[in-house]
Symmetry: C2
Subunit: 213 residues, 2 copies
């Protein structure tokens, strides 16, 4: 079976899930923490080399304050939990804004935890404009502009899995996602099940890979 | 009904269609010309403001020569046909490479034909790296980097329709596609039918629009 080296995860639908449960929207993010760890363990088991979680974006921070505080806390908790695993962990996002949680500053340099086998990237207060803006610092001679984006320590993504039914990237790593295959799961992220992950892998195995050729 | 202002078209599957018809792969591109005009006319009828066709990319030019010549000719023909319509036409791509057909140089400045109502963009010898590379020319003070990409006369895409079943962007306008909803049709592009277009519009109408918020 042909496996993706790098999986991008868009864990969408927390708020819709909360509303469907009769809770307020801000209560939905707590339900997204366990799935994050469960998915990590499945990736570890299947030998995936790299995972990138879409935590929250600079766009997201314009939401009502109680939601913003809730998803920020959920991201802090999720990163702390992943730091207990065998992960080479990196948090990527705009640390110069007050929306970046100071608790996660220490993870903005890649650090190996445990056996540190899987590269785990976690986007926190990430913005695609912020990411691309540093291309201005490349000079005319630099052919490989990819080295100049802010997220340059994150590799090309092979497979993006999005929960919650939306068929769009919503700003997720535009450069690394250029050739990625995009798999959408209608269930909300808090409804994560192992089988969804395996369905995505099976689907990915059926795709051809051309890298635009 | 909520309509997309700008539709991106990825007309994939010409070669697979040709093979399924018992033809050689290079013969598939001819079958893609009529659908391009048909789709334009539907957009005109439904009041779509802008269309971008994914002609061919710098990646594509690495294919066997007979295929390259065939898709280049198909793009020349398609642009010439669109120039007979009411379109504000612009060809966008790397004109500095020998792969760019000289017949299309005259379309690389936006020109109004007929009543010139719909903006029609046609990507020819387009490359996402080429597009983003000019960001190097933005200076530190320029917040809106979008103005500096080579394709800056192409607006944000609302709906991308891809024929041929692949669920990926393959380098299509990474900046303008950030928030685009992505609709995939399993049929090959030469099998275009009006109903596919209307199915895509209906699906788009059912999506929410958040622009990442």
């Amino acid at each position: 079976m042909r496996m993706p080296k790098h999986i991008g995860v868009i864990p969408d639908g927390n708020r819709r899930w909360a509303v469907a449960q009769g809770m307020t929207k801000d209560r939905g993010y707590d339900g997204g923490i366990d799935p994050g760890l469960e998915l990590f363990k499945l990736c570890e088991k299947e030998g995936i080399e790299e995972i990138t979680y879409y935590g929250f974006t600079t766009d997201n921070t314009k939401r009502p304050k109680e939601q913003r505080l809730a998803f920020t806390k959920a991201c802090i908790d999720a990163v702390e939990i992943l730091s207990k695993e065998n992960a080479s962990l990196l948090v990527v996002g705009n640390t110069e804004s007050p929306m970046f949680p100071k608790e996660l500053l220490k993870y903005t340099k890649r650090t190996e935890f445990g056996e540190g086998k899987i590269k785990v990237n976690f986007l926190v207060n990430y913005g695609w404009k912020w990411d691309l803006n540093s291309l201005k610092e490349a000079t005319g001679n630099n052919k490989n502009i990819i080295n100049y984006i802010k997220s340059n320590d994150i590799s090309r993504v092979d497979l993006i899995i999005r929960w919650g039914g939306r068929r769009r990237l919503s700003g997720f790593l535009p450069v690394q996602s250029i050739y990625a295959d995009f798999y959408v799961i209608d269930n909300f992220w808090p409804e994560f099940k192992d089988q969804q992950f395996y369905d995505a892998l099976k689907w990915y195995d059926e795709q051809d890979i051309t890298l635009g050729g």
